[in-house]
Subunit: 342 residues, 2 copies
């Protein structure tokens, strides 16, 4: 049916120009040259281009709804970010449609489609662990729907982003273990793809290197789902090997809590025989005994910043049409909280 | 402008009948008598009734969006219920707009309005602690938009409800302390209004009564926001009084964790000198030492059941118009998990 409908993108590809240029040319923007306009209009006619009525509707009515795509809701980090998003959105008269990818790329794609069809004013997303290509977000670009990425972001996609400096935070965590006297530091890391789990690994590696400690690949364990149980099991494996670690940098507090429980099950003393540091500063880190040293992450502020940037972009586009936006990446500060586990 | 528009409710009030009857009469339903139809049509004319175009639009198009109103997102109970709602909604092709009341009635009212205007297919709600009157939900009834209430429900509002048996669960918790030898049992209870905090108090009172233990009003503390800090402070107050409790029934695990920390700060031994039981079975209850005995609540299942009932009602109404629905209250089971704190 509408499978072969010509899009702005098709015209842009055909002419070797950008979607923005084609869009502006068709709307008779003054910053596009007469020749370009002529070429675009000619090509549009040739390709039987018709403006998408959904897009026209999109432009006319504002929905005051913002879509959020996150891996999961029952998660210390995401629920706190979500609170920051919802509270600040509601204050500005926006509501949130929340969708969860469960770290499955296909789900994420479906959600983008649904939110697009629902005419959301913008989208905030933390990518699924599985997601490599972010092509499914292109349709939002095509229709000038703003996107803000946080936490698990794409380095190739042009949009506003909010994050912490995962690499330097991980460096700080690893360096803390070194300063406390650890020589054999294991890292229970996140999955292979997400940029933030790669960055935390890089921070770990770089702290070891700067302190002339050789990285032992047997001491790097890679989680799949980043659950407490994985933290427990990997720690048992590490502690039962011939070459035991004297320090563990856990990629999240859940992993850190699992590590503490595993060490305790073997009668290993924390912090005397084994020092453990987590990442995120969740409530369990405070409550477990020994309490868990961790990196404090400003979760609520991440949500607050993401929604603020998104609403700014929505309102900028409303006021000035699809003008070019200077995308920014905001990096929020973290700090180390020393507790009993180190 | 449209302030004086006649509604179905106005006609119903004028005739001393129900909105459903008026609605059915105007739609010429066969189960309404001729005389009633005549009377309704006459009154509608007299009052210059015109069908609301929004309502007509509502009937025509399905939004596939469901509104959720809960007090907060960063909360063990609500985030788990939400996960149950979202996952099951997404499987059936619905998305969720999530709004938070922060336990403020006025916010709740605003959200109902917004969701109504957004033409949601249905609403799931846990009432704000503050909410006494539920009149702001009447507009949904008027337009046949299904509602499911869970956790903090209204006993006067006719709709489907999902809950646990708070009273018998609290009875179980208090009885457990009695069986373990406690004679002076304090209760750190929830706020005054929510039915579930009243029911938990009733369960506590009734267990004491059945075991010939007099209720000591000085041993009942009433939380405002149900935070860990309130649990901590009330426990200090109780333990510093002349008449110390030997058991505490905490209305939630957060309160229970605060109670454990307060007792520990005074060097009081748990469970030897003081036994503590919580309610909800959150992760902190497992992780704190001594681990916290608690009532397991099927949070995810509450969300799952709520969305299932809602979608059933939406689809029933789609198939049969605004036919009468037999509203049900589903009560899900809880059980006691004994841990170190008792």
């Amino acid at each position: 049916m509408s499978k072969n409908r010509t899009t702005l993108k098709d015209i842009a590809l055909e002419l070797g120009t950008t979607i923005t240029t084609v869009s502006k040319a068709l709307k008779n923007y003054p910053d596009i040259s007469k020749e370009t306009k002529k070429a675009v209009i000619k090509m549009a006619k040739k390709m039987n281009y018709e403006p998408d009525m959904r897009a026209v509707a999109l432009k006319k009515g504002k929905s005051n709804i913002i879509g959020v795509i996150i891996p999961e809701v029952v998660h210390f980090f995401f629920s706190n970010v979500l609170e920051g998003i919802i509270k600040n959105a509601e204050e500005k008269g926006y509501k949130i449609i929340i969708t969860t990818s469960h770290n499955i790329s296909k789900q994420e794609k479906k959600h983008v489609r649904f939110l697009f069809n629902k005419k959301v004013d913008g989208i905030i997303v933390s990518l699924a662990n599985e997601t490599k290509s972010v092509k499914h977000f292109d349709i939002l670009k095509e229709y000038d729907i703003p996107i803000v990425m946080f936490d698990k972001v794409s380095d190739t996609f042009q949009c506003n982003k909010v994050n912490i400096d995962d690499k330097s935070s991980a460096y700080k965590a690893t360096e803390h273990l070194i300063k406390k006297g650890c020589k054999k530091i294991a890292h229970i890391r996140g999955p292979k793809h997400p940029l933030n789990s790669i960055a935390r690994f890089e921070g770990y590696r770089s702290a070891l290197e700067d302190n002339d400690i050789a990285l032992n690949p047997n001491m790097v364990m890679e989680c799949k789902d980043v659950t407490l149980k994985e933290g427990y099991d990997f720690t048992l494996e590490l502690l039962n090997s011939d070459d035991k670690p004297d320090g563990i940098f856990a990629v999240t507090d859940q992993i850190g809590v699992g590590a503490i429980q595993a060490a305790q099950s073997l009668g290993i003393k924390i912090p005397e025989e084994l020092k453990i540091i987590g990442f995120s500063d969740s409530q369990v880190a405070q409550i477990i005994r020994p309490s868990l040293t961790t990196i404090h992450q400003p979760n609520y502020e991440i949500g607050e910043t993401a929604i603020r940037m998104l609403i700014e972009e929505i309102e900028l586009r409303e006021a000035h049409g699809d003008s070019d936006i200077d995308f920014r990446q905001i990096i929020l500060d973290t700090y180390l909280i020393e507790r009993e586990s180190t």
